[in-house]
Subunit: 470 residues, 2 copies
Amino acid sequence: MINRHARRFHSRTAQIRQLSVTVKDCLTHLTQKNLTQTEKDVSVQGWIRSFRKGKNISFLVVNDGSTHESLQAVIRGPQINIEGLSFGTSVRVSGRLLYSIKGTQAVELDTSTVNVIGPASHDYPLQKKYTSAEHLRFNAHLRPRTQFNSSLLRIQSYMLHTLSSFFQTKNAIQVLPPVMTSSDCEGAGETFQISKSEDFFGMKTNLIVSSQLHLEALAMGVGKVWTLVPTFRAERSTTARHLAEFRMLEAELCFTNSLHDVMDITESLIRNLTQGIIQHPDLQFIRSLNAENIEQDVDMQARWDSILGTPWTRIRFSEAVRILETAGASEDFVFSPSMDSGLQAEHEKFLAKYFNGPVFVTNYPAVQKPFYMLPAEDGTVECFDLLVPSMGELCGGSLRDDNLDSLLHKMRIAGMNEGDLTWYTDLRRYGSVPHGGFGLGWERLVGYLCGVNNVREIAAFPRWVNHCVG
Amino acid sequence: MINRHARRFHSRTAQIRQLSVTVKDCLTHLTQKNLTQTEKDVSVQGWIRSFRKGKNISFLVVNDGSTHESLQAVIRGPQINIEGLSFGTSVRVSGRLLYSIKGTQAVELDTSTVNVIGPASHDYPLQKKYTSAEHLRFNAHLRPRTQFNSSLLRIQSYMLHTLSSFFQTKNAIQVLPPVMTSSDCEGAGETFQISKSEDFFGMKTNLIVSSQLHLEALAMGVGKVWTLVPTFRAERSTTARHLAEFRMLEAELCFTNSLHDVMDITESLIRNLTQGIIQHPDLQFIRSLNAENIEQDVDMQARWDSILGTPWTRIRFSEAVRILETAGASEDFVFSPSMDSGLQAEHEKFLAKYFNGPVFVTNYPAVQKPFYMLPAEDGTVECFDLLVPSMGELCGGSLRDDNLDSLLHKMRIAGMNEGDLTWYTDLRRYGSVPHGGFGLGWERLVGYLCGVNNVREIAAFPRWVNHCVG
């Protein structure tokens, strides 16, 4: 067939493209030494971070989100229109890149033209001066335009790519489990139900609280799987560590009967993500900030060192309780540590501080944990919680009970509806294998590594009780 | 502090690990030439794909999901227990890896012991003989154990990593937008509402039908963003191309006023993903299968070639209609092509076939498209649909209207509630910039590249009307 329409249209693709040059390009690749004659003249678009007007010379600082750094456009002479250049306004600045003698940056722009693309109305909710984290949370749609939040976005993106590469080298398969489910994973959290879904699906459905059960099914086809999936808890919590919608990083590994395997991969993953970002310029930048939402009392370098240092402590729950009991007199806990109750947040933080870094606490009493965990001989289950200083629990994992009768027995005791989970018990009915996995709160991990103490700063559009804007 | 508990516990990590050797390891890394004495003796776990019992020698074929290939365990002599070795049973086979003289594989296992880990009950829903795709869809939890579905999982995972790398090289930021939203994106699809969310959030919420609006907000902080997010449409469709829950690959790019930029990155991305997987052993394996769910009438190599060949055709909607009108007499369309109605599925398929590969159709009449698209001068909008042979629409994109007044005008005409979208119009109120993006149905793309004609085979746990199992 003759493709003449296409050919005619293609000739139009030779037009000038606007995506080519970013501030990052200007500051890194286009240092003067490498500049060719044609590259020296550039046109960059971005948002105004500051504008200082002088008599003979003005300075316009422009950021386009490609890096935390901004480009300084130097405006000389009266022939350039400088009207409407207020904070937050978007502009196109054109001119010649020059090697900068003064200042901290290698290059600056000798400006020939400035065009306003989009003015920022005078009631722009962000201001150059200090804006509180609380105020920004209620303007989540504009928040990425701050240096702090755009840096967090770039760091997270880098971590996501590291995550993908990590599991790729481990031959673990990234899977995309469902978010709508007819199963109740553990009855632990309050679920969000989907209305009218009974009309649509012929059964009640809700949003997933954990993908673990689905990952178990998928792992039993391809051996090792992982996912980063939205999860939902209708808990009326307003703490700095809880969201109604958050991302859970979950992995499931077949053919293991040692909890150490699961802890090994958890530890290896978090070390890998930490190693990947501690040199990231955005993280160094965040660390240099003096913002209210950053943990100012924590030595971040020491935190990263404790993650990357010696292998993490692994202790049993019973040993943890003994340590807490010994420390109890001097520590003045609100809750007395005991074998019969779980660890309270204050206990978790104490333990991580005691060991001066991440610590796995394993083998909790079975009565404290959900039905699917593998029983050990001493009335405990093969599980762990990973505790980190000043936060407490970051991650939890376990070996799963792969015995059908044992599983059914525990489901009956827990009053669960077997019929809803036939598909899950099928995994034990047909070719069951020993396996285990973990689940890690993504926003908590990112916040922990960045020294940001509220997960609402990490989620792009945070949702919590009475708050779902956007 | 003294860390004696930790040290005592650590000594236990020296125990034997079970995760070390996979079938893939045996077949690739442990070819006999590289075997050291200690590596020759291996223990592998997996599921039985077949068992042939002979008088003096038996053959057990075991797969663990690490690759589409299986390991053949040769069982000699009567001292090895071969009871209970049925299809689907999970086993641990131990023995010595030998260079295989006969057969297609480089190695086989000279078996010393076989242990049944998990028997498969006699009513195991999968069978070695043919199992229909329809039957498997209702056993999605066991489906990954088939060669076909496990191959699809491995291919998808590889594509996901390629995706992450692609955008990393483009300096686009991966973001994690919300799934629960208080906004109505376009009113085009039926939304799933979240029940009792008014109690929890103080406002009505529903599941997201597209992340575009949120991505626009995020892009206006960091320039270029992308995501792969679950999206939800309560459409009572039962076609091979629709799911109630599916993954949408979406990207948004700031600082462009050319639709070609958006088409360029779409084309580049799909070429990149295709290039990445066409040599993948699992894709070659799927191609060799003779399964009902594979498009048998399509030359897959020609399909991939058409993607990787010359730049894709880009035509305007008006030109597409002219071609369709000319072809109409001989093609016998059910619907007459016209400027006043959108393209029907039959038209889309014809156009892609006519151009013998992917084709972008741009500049549809504004009345056919949603409010947020950028108007062109001739009553059209700066948008595209990407059509591919035998499927039709795979992807859509547009430049976004970045003018506040124009946007508000169109929202009023469409009867939309401005108050719900104040956060979105804010993006134009404060420092608006030209931008555009696209959305691509992930399951459709994977199915298209693998020659699988029903997206229910691609989603791990497919949901459609009257079907939400697991």
